[in-house]
Amino acid sequence: MKAYLAYFRMRFMRGLAYRTAAWAGAATQFFWGFVLIMVLQSFAKAGGSPLDLPQIASYIWLQQAFLALIVVWFRDSELQSAIVAGDAAYELCRPADPYALWFSRLAAGRLAAACLRCGPILLVGFLLPKPYALSLPASAASAAYFGLSLALGLALIVAITMFSYILCVITLAPHTPFLLLAPIFEFASGMVIPLPFMPQAARRVLEALPFRLCVDLPLRIYSGSIPAAEAPRLIALQVLWIAILVALGRAALSRALRGARISGG
C-alpha cells in the first residue's frame, strides 16, 4: 500500500506544478460555465424543467470546478508516452502491481488538477447573484453523499479510462479508438446536457450505463435533485461498477502485457 501511496504522492506533487495551465483552464471553464447556465436556464424558463434555476447553476458550477475529476478526456500523456516509448518496462520491473501503480498515478493526476482549479471557481460561484450562484448543498446528508459519490466517481472514471491505456499497450498508439468514444461517454455521463433534460427513452438507456455515476450522480445529489434517501442505493451501484471494471481492467492489462513486445533495443 505504501508503494502506491508514494506513487500517488509523486504524481500529485508534480500535478500541482502546473499552476499557470490551471489558472488558464479555470478562466475558460468559468466562461463556459456561464454559457451553459444561461442556455439551460432559458430552456428551464420555457417551462416543465426537471431542475429549477438554482439547481442548474449548482450543477454547472460543480461540474466546472471538479472537471478534472469527472471528465473522460483528461489524459496522462506522460504515461501514454512511457507506454509507447517503452519506459514503462521499468514499471514492470517493480515489486508492485502495474494496474494499481497506474491507477494511483491517474487518480493523483486528476486530483492535483482538480485541487488547483476548484478553488477559484467555487469561490466565484458562491459570490454570484441569485439564479446564477452556486447554492449550498440541499442538506448535511446531501453534502456528505456528494463528497462520497464524487470520490467514488473519480475511482470509477479512472477505472473506465484505464482501458484506453491498456489499449495503448496493445496498439502502441496513444490515440486509440477510445478517443473516438470519449465524446459519446461524455454525453452519456451528463457532462454536456444534464440527464433530466433528456427524453425518457434516452434516460432509461443512459441510467443503465456506468458513465452517469461519475457526473450526473454526485452533481445532482448535491442540489437535492436526487434525494439523499436515494443516494445510498446509487452509491452502492458505483461501488459495484468500480469492482467490475477494476476486475476486467486487471485481467485485460495482464493479458496485454503478456502479449506485449518491447521493441527497439
Binding site: 508503494a3 517503452g86 520491473c93 515489486p95 508492485a96 513486445r261 518491447i262
Partner: protein, 264 residues
C-alpha cells in the same frame, strides 16, 4: 544462480512493399511474418560472475534480458533465477534484481533525482537505514553528490546514466541486468560506469549480466562472454579463449564466429 534452458520466443511482424498499391492491398491481406527472436537459448550463470552478453542488433539480447527480468514471457523453455520463474513469481523476483535499460529512463523527468530515489525506496520497501547507507555509498562511488537535487531533465546523459545505475541498486539487489548501459555515453562516463560495475561486483558480490555493443565494456569487465546471433548461442566461454585466435581483437573474433555460422 541463473539457469536458462531452451528458451524460445517469437514475434509476429507485419511487412509490405512500399507504394500506395501495396499499402491498399495490405489492408485486406496483411502479410504477417513470424520473427523468431530466440530459438532455443540455454546457459547458466554462477553467483558473482560478470557475463558479457553480446551480439548484433536484433540477435535477441534484449529479449533474453527482458525474459530474465520478468517483463516478457517466452513461448517455451525454462528460466530460473535464484529458483524463481521470473514471469510467474514476478513480484518476489523483481524485488531482488536490479535492471538498467540504456535507452529507457526510470527517473521522473521534472523532479529532483532524490525524489525519484525516495519513490523507489518506498516501492521496494527499503528500510530507512539501508537506504541512507546505500545512497551514500552509491553517491560516493558514482560521484552523484553535485546533482542529486537537480531534476533529471537538466542532467547530461552521462550524469543521468549514473543516476539510473544508482536507482537500480538502491534496494541492494544481488543480480544486475544491464542492457546497453553505456550507449551514447562519452569516454569519461563510460570509464566511471565500468569502474563502478567492477567495484559493485568485487565488493558486494553482485552478479552482472551486461549486454553492450561496446567491445571495450566487455574487455574491461567480462571474463566470460556469451555470443548470440539470430536467436542462437554461438559461443559461450572465456573471453580470453574467444580472442586468442584473433590476435586479441574482440571485434575480429566476433566477426570470425559470425562468419562460421553464415551470419557475416
Amino acid at each position: 544462480m541463473i539457469k536458462v534452458e531452451d528458451l524460445r520466443k517469437s514475434y509476429r511482424a507485419r511487412r509490405r512493399s512500399s507504394g500506395p498499391l501495396q499499402a491498399a492491398l495490405s489492408l485486406f491481406k496483411p502479410d504477417r511474418e513470424v520473427v523468431e527472436a530466440l530459438r532455443g537459448v540455454s546457459f547458466s550463470i554462477k553467483p558473482g560472475e560478470i557475463v558479457g552478453y553480446i551480439g548484433p542488433n536484433g540477435a535477441g539480447k534484449s529479449t533474453t534480458v527482458k525474459i530474465m527480468c520478468g517483463i516478457l514471457v517466452p513461448d517455451s523453455g525454462s528460466c530460473l533465477v535464484r529458483g524463481l520463474v521470473p514471469w510467474k513469481d514476478r513480484k518476489a523476483h523483481v524485488a531482488r534484481i536490479g535492471a538498467v535499460f540504456g535507452q529507457r529512463s526510470q527517473l521522473w523527468w521534472d523532479v529532483p533525482v532524490l525524489d525519484s530515489f525516495e519513490l523507489l525506496r518506498d516501492i521496494y520497501r527499503v528500510p530507512a537505514a539501508d537506504y541512507s547507507r546505500n545512497l551514500e555509498e552509491l553517491a560516493e562511488a558514482l560521484g552523484l553528490a553535485s546533482f542529486l537535487d537537480m531534476p533529471a531533465r537538466s542532467l547530461s546523459l552521462g550524469q543521468r546514466m549514473r543516476c539510473e545505475m544508482a536507482a537500480s541498486l538502491l534496494h541492494g539487489p544481488d543480480i544486475l541486468f544491464l542492457d546497453e548501459p553505456t550507449i551514447g555515453l562519452d569516454a569519461p562516463s563510460k570509464l566511471a560506469l565500468r569502474a563502478f560495475i567492477e567495484r559493485a561486483n568485487r565488493e558486494r558480490g553482485v552478479t552482472v549480466v551486461l549486454t553492450t555493443h561496446d567491445v571495450h565494456d566487455i574487455e574491461a569487465l567480462a571474463k566470460r562472454v556469451i555470443l548470440i546471433g539470430r536467436g542462437e548461442i554461438l559461443y559461450d566461454g572465456s573471453f580470453d579463449r574467444l580472442v586468442a585466435g584473433a590476435s586479441g581483437s574482440l571485434e575480429e573474433a566476433m566477426a570470425a564466429v559470425y562468419g562460421e555460422h553464415g551470419l557475416a
